[in-house]
Symmetry: C2
Subunit: 196 residues, 2 copies
DNA sequence: AAAAGAAATGAATGAATGTTCATGGTTTTT
DNA sequence: AAAAACCATGAACATTCATTCATTTCTTTT
């Protein structure tokens, strides 16, 4: 029973993801989500408080999963550069794996003021990861000392998101994962100490 | 009369910009826009086809103005680096000057599939400007030959947009224009030929 | 200043859709 | 197998708004 509830719950979440990604949150209707999940409209309200709550729980769930993977990816690196490389590769690969999530994060999240705390959380966690990496790089001498970390980390996140955005616009027609290394190279060549 | 129509038209456009920026397109109502412009609801329909059309014309108008300035800024530079510097400074300053526009471009535009052609236009124009600059830099030897222009230009745009996004999230509390030079420096140090 | 034309009004309309709840079905318990 | 507890249904409800248009107000013409 717990499991069957869980199953239906996730079925609805998934359907919601697909419908939100296709039509956008506001144009998506409860009926569309219910139909795609193969349940009646009213059933959604057994599992979710309201339409907003569906999106909220979708984002929470995805955020959790992805962020755990990102943390693991970073922990897997030794020096600052390999951590950065792992983080960005993980980011690109996860978004490529789940295109609905990519669309929702890229297109919708900025739009929703009510869920601002959620956005802030995921962005903040990501930016904090980047801060740590950059600071480590400065300590071990692989990154310039005169970097303004606050700017650099936003710079990196913005660039990665821009690349994802473009990929989404192209309907995911090319491989996103392969952009990780050129992207980091491009970035590192700017950050790396001239002589090292 | 032509002028008074023009005045009211722009009054409505401005009000729409403020209301869209504050509430987002879907939560913004015709009544709010009308009230802010000091006209009756029905009056909007003398100047615009419908709600979508208001946003469309807002974006068209702003796009035109900003893009002319960006073109002029680029034309004002001599070498690739100064052109890039001028472009990015112009971008940041214009968005800072008109925060409503900044919010709408950053938060709303990605969301609106119907206006995709519009977005594509402004993004494409911007990316084309960047392409030209990078190619010129490669020709005159100030930028590396092995750059993948398609990636670099999205990298730059993404980074700039990321910085603007952060500024918008902070409710425009700090000066955006001053970030132009550090941003370009950060970027150039990566792009510039190691020896030059 | 009267008439004609243009511009503006805002209450009424109608469509869209998030949410509820009385009803019916299914599973579990006794 | 009857009763109880639980789950699911989907038609009906209520609200929200974009849009319209009959009426009024303002401007121009003669």
């Amino acid at each position: 029973m717990q499991k069957s509830k869980s199953q239906k719950y996730h079925k609805i979440l998934n359907s919601a993801g697909a419908v939100f990604a296709e039509h956008g949150f506001y144009k998506a209707t409860i009926s569309q989500i219910a139909a795609r999940a193969g349940v009646a409209d009213g059933t959604l309200y057994l599992y979710f408080k309201n339409k907003d709550d569906i999106l909220y729980q979708y984002l929470s769930f995805k955020t959790d999963v992805v962020f755990k993977k990102m943390n693991a990816a970073v922990a897997n690196g030794t020096d600052a550069e390999s951590k950065l490389r792992n983080l960005i590769r993980c980011h690109l690969e996860e978004f490529q794996r789940d295109q609905n999530m990519a669309i929702i994060f890229q297109s919708e999240v900025r739009y929703l003021r009510d869920i601002e705390s959620q956005i802030k959380n995921i962005s903040k966690m990501y930016l904090d990861l980047l801060s740590d990496i950059i600071e480590q790089g400065q300590i071990d001498g692989s990154m310039r000392q005169d970097l303004f970390v606050g700017l650099v980390k936003r710079f990196i996140l913005g660039a990665v998101e821009g690349v994802i955005s473009t990929w989404v616009s192209a309907h995911g027609r090319y491989d996103l994962g392969t952009m990780a290394d050129p992207l980091v190279d491009l970035f590192m060549t700017g950050v790396r100490e001239a002589g090292s």
